[in-house]
C-alpha cells in the first residue's frame, strides 16, 4: 500500500539551523499519526513541509505516491487546521467554511449546502451568518476543522489545534477528533507538544527532538519501551537509571527507564526486584500520590494509587517492581 505521506531523508535547514534533519517517515492511509516533541524540535516544520508552506532543502516527499516537493500548497489535496485557526475575519462563518469550494469554482448553492453540512458535523449548525470574532475559541476551532474537512482532503494536518483550549474543552475535543477521524477514514497528521494528547489519540507517534525522529511507534511502544533517554523523559515521566545503578539490579551496564507507576510500595512479591529507600517527599495529585524515594543516593519517583496508604516522610520503604518493567535503553 502506498503511504499517505512519505518522507525520505528529508531536511529543512534555515541557514545553519537544522529545523528538520534527515527525517524518514511513512504515514499509512487512514492513520491517526501524531508528531510529538518540544517546541523547536522540527515537528511543525515537518507539518509545513507536508502542507507545502516550506520546501525541503534535501530529500524526497511523496503524498499518496506523488512527488510533493516543488508543488505549491494550493495544488495539494491536503488541508491544515492552524494553531490559531486562521479564520478569515472579513467573511462570515459560512463563507469561511465554503472558501475552499468557492475558489475551486463549486456553484453557490452546492457549496452552501456542503458548508452547512460541515458545520453540522462539527456541531455548529446555524452558526453560518456569524463572524469569526463572535465565536469562542472552541467554536472557532470547530469552524477551522469544518473549513478543512469540507474539501474532503486526502490528508488532514492539525497544528496543535487544541493548544489554546482549556483542559475540559481539550479533553472533549480530543474524543471528538478521534471519533471524527474514525468515521471519515481520513488520514490525520497531528502536531502536539502534549504527550498525553498524543498517547490518547494517535495510532502511531513520532517523537521529535532537535530536528530528528527519536522514536516512531505505537503509543504503547513509545511509552513502555522508550528507545532513548529523551523519549523516556518526554513521554510521560520516568525514572532514568544510570548504568551503574542498573548493574546493581542484575541487568547489563546500560541506561534504563522505570515508570513511576510500575513501582509498588506494598512489599516484595515473587519474581519481583526490590530496593529499599527513604521517603523524601510526597504530593497529592488527586487520583494518585507521587512519592519521591531516595535509594542510596538515587532519587526515584513512585506513583501510588490514592487509595493505598501513603508512607510518612523520612520513613523507610521497600520498592518492588517486575523485572520486565525495567526497560533498558540505547545510550544517550
Amino acid at each position: 500500500m502506498t503511504a499517505a505521506v512519505l518522507f525520505e531523508n528529508v531536511s529543512r535547514h534555515f541557514g545553519a539551523v537544522r529545523a528538520v534533519d534527515a527525517v524518514d517517515l511513512a504515514v499509512a492511509e487512514g492513520e491517526f499519526f501524531a508528531m510529538l516533541g518540544p517546541s523547536g524540535s522540527g515537528k511543525t516544520t515537518c507539518l509545513r513541509l507536508m502542507a507545502g508552506f516550506e520546501q525541503p532543502t534535501g530529500g524526497h516527499i511523496e503524498i499518496f505516491g506523488e512527488t510533493a516537493e516543488g508543488v505549491p500548497p494550493y495544488r495539494r489535496n491536503v488541508n491544515t487546521v492552524f494553531q490559531d485557526y486562521a479564520l478569515f475575519p472579513h467573511l462570515s462563518i459560512l463563507d469561511n467554511v465554503a472558501y475552499g469550494l468557492m475558489v475551486k469554482g463549486v456553484a453557490r448553492e452546492e457549496r452552501r449546502k456542503a458548508a452547512e453540512d460541515a458545520l453540522a458535523m462539527v456541531k455548529l449548525p446555524g452558526y453560518g451568518t456569524r463572524r469569526p470574532g463572535q465565536l469562542s475559541g472552541g467554536q472557532r476551532q470547530r469552524v477551522a476543522l469544518a473549513r478543512a474537512l469540507v474539501n474532503k482532503p486526502k490528508v488532514l494536518l492539525l497544528d496543535e489545534p487544541l493548544g489554546a483550549l482549556d483542559l475540559k474543552l481539550r479533553e472533549q475535543m480530543q474524543e471528538e477528533l478521534k471519533t471524527l477521524q474514525k468515521s471519515l477514514g481520513i488520514t490525520f497528521v497531528f502536531v502536539t507538544h502534549d504527550q498525553g494528547e498524543a498517547l490518547s489519540m494517535a495510532d502511531r507517534i513520532a517523537v521529535f527532538n532537535e530536528g530528528r525522529i527519536q522514536q516512531l511507534g505505537t503509543p504503547e511502544d513509545v511509552y513502555k519501551r522508550p528507545k532513548t533517554r529523551f523519549v523516556a523523559d518526554f513521554v510521560g515521566s520516568s525514572n532514568i537509571l544510570q548504568p551503574e545503578f542498573v548493574t546493581q539490579l542484575g541487568a547489563g551496564r546500560q541506561l534504563a527507564s522505570l515508570r513511576p507507576e510500575a513501582i509498588e510500595l506494598t512489599g516484595k512479591k515473587d519474581g519481583q526486584l526490590s530496593l529499599s529507600g527513604i521517603v523524601l517527599s510526597r504530593s497529592f495529585l488527586g487520583a494518585s500520590n507521587r512519592i519521591t524515594v531516595d535509594v542510596s543516593g538515587t532519587k526515584l519517583h513512585v506513583t501510588s494509587p490514592a487509595a493505598s496508604p501513603v508512607p510518612e516522610e523520612g520513613s523507610k520503604v521497600t520498592l518492588s517492581f517486575a523485572p520486565a518493567d525495567l526497560h533498558l535503553m540505547e545510550a544517550v
Binding site: A51, G52, F53, P72, P73, Y74, V78, N79, T80, F82, D84, A86, L87, F88, P89, H90, Y99, G100, M102, V103, K104, R147, A148, N151
Partner: protein, 317 residues
C-alpha cells in the same frame, strides 16, 4: 526587617501638590480623561467645526454684482452660479484628476507597501520608511519647481529621451487631445505626474499599515484551501487591505481636490477647484462663491465614504 521592603504595608501619601494631584486623578479617572480631552475637543468643536460652519453659512449668501459687497440674505443663487458651465467645468476637471491620481497612486503604492509589510526587515524597513518619508521633509514648492524643470521642454526628461532616440514617443503622447500639450510641464499629464509624486507617501503608509496587520497565516490558509495567488489576492489580501486603501485614497483624493499650487505651476492654465477658491476669495472678492466651491470637496468626500462603507470597505476593521 529587610532593607528592600518598606516599613509599612501601605506607604503614606506623597507630600506636595503633585502627590495630591496623582491621587485625585487615580480616584477620578473620568476627570483625568476630561482634562486630557478638553483642549483638542475645544479646538475641534469651536475653531475647526465653527469655522467650517461659518464657511458653509457664507455659501448661502450672495454677492452684489454692482457694489461687490456681500449680501447677507439667505439665497441659493451662489449655488446656481456654482453650477454654471464654467464652474461645473472646473469641478468636473478637478474630480476627474483627483480620481485618476488616486487610482494610479493606489496601483503604484500597493506593491511598495506590500513589499515593506511582508518582506522588508531590519535596516531594509528603516530604509523603506526613510525613502517614503524623505520627500515630505523637503519643501513642497521646491519639489514642484524641481518637477517643472524636469518636465519642461528644455528639461532633463526631453534630453534623456532625445539621447535614447525616444523623443517621438513623448511627442506622440503630447499630440494627444486633452492630456497632451506643448510640453509635459504645461499639460494635464504633467499635473497628474506631480500630483501622484507629491501624494504618494499618503497612499503608501496607510496601505502598508493595513497589510502589516494581515496575519501571514491567513495567506497560508487561503493557499492551503486551494487558492492560487491571484485568488488569495482577490478574496483575502485585497479585502483586508481595503480600509488602508480607502484611508490612503481619502488623502490623495481630498488633497488633490483642494490643491491650488500644483495646477498653477505645472499644467495648462485651466483652473482647478483650489485655484477657483483662491481666485474667488482673493482677487474677485466673491467669498460666497469661494465658500460654495469648498463645499464641493466636502460633499464628494462624504459621498465617497458613504459608498465605501456600503461596499464593505470597513468590514474588516
Amino acid at each position: 526587617m529587610s532593607a528592600i521592603t518598606g516599613e509599612q504595608a501601605i506607604s503614606t501619601q506623597r507630600s506636595g501638590l503633585a502627590g495630591r494631584i496623582s491621587d485625585f486623578f487615580w480616584k477620578h479617572p473620568h476627570v483625568f480623561l476630561a482634562v486630557m480631552l478638553a483642549p483638542p475637543l475645544l479646538w475641534l468643536g469651536i475653531i475647526y467645526l465653527g469655522s467650517l460652519l461659518a464657511l458653509l453659512l457664507q455659501s448661502f449668501f450672495s454677492i452684489d454684482d454692482y457694489s461687490g459687497l456681500v449680501n447677507y440674505e439667505f439665497t441659493l443663487a451662489t449655488y446656481g452660479q456654482l453650477l454654471n458651465e464654467t464652474n461645473l467645468d472646473i469641478i468636473i476637471r478637478t474630480v476627474c484628476m483627483a480620481a485618476i491620481v488616486t487610482l494610479f497612486s493606489a496601483l503604484i503604492a500597493f506593491p511598495i507597501a506590500y513589499y515593506a509589510a511582508r518582506y522588508a526587515r531590519g535596516k531594509w524597513k528603516a530604509l523603506f520608511y526613510l525613502g517614503v518619508m524623505l520627500p515630505l521633509w523637503s519643501s513642497y514648492l521646491v519639489k514642484i519647481y524641481a518637477w517643472k524643470l524636469i518636465l519642461a521642454k528644455e528639461g532633463i526628461l526631453t534630453w534623456l529621451l532625445t539621447k535614447l532616440n525616444l523623443l517621438w514617443l513623448l511627442d506622440a503622447w503630447l499630440s494627444l487631445p486633452v492630456i497632451g500639450g506643448n510640453s509635459l510641464s504645461v499639460s494635464y499629464t504633467g499635473t497628474f505626474i506631480v500630483f501622484v509624486y507629491v501624494w504618494m507617501p499618503f497612499m503608501i503608509l496607510p496601505i502598508q499599515a493595513s497589510l502589516e496587520r494581515v496575519p501571514v497565516n491567513l495567506i497560508e490558509a487561503s493557499s492551503d484551501l486551494g487558492s492560487t495567488p491571484q485568488q488569495t489576492f482577490r478574496h483575502v489580501l485585497f479585502p483586508l487591505a481595503l480600509p488602508g486603501i480607502v484611508a490612503g485614497s481619502i488623502f490623495t483624493f481630498s488633497l488633490t481636490l483642494g490643491d491650488y499650487i500644483i495646477p498653477q505651476i505645472i499644467g495648462s492654465s485651466r483652473l482647478f477647484i483650489g485655484q477657483a477658491v483662491y481666485a474667488q476669495q482673493g482677487t474677485a472678492g466673491n467669498i460666497p462663491l469661494a465658500a460654495a466651491f469648498t463645499v464641493v470637496p466636502i460633499v464628494i468626500m462624504g459621498l465617497y465614504l458613504w459608498a465605501a462603507r456600503r461596499m464593505g470597505a470597513f468590514d474588516a476593521l
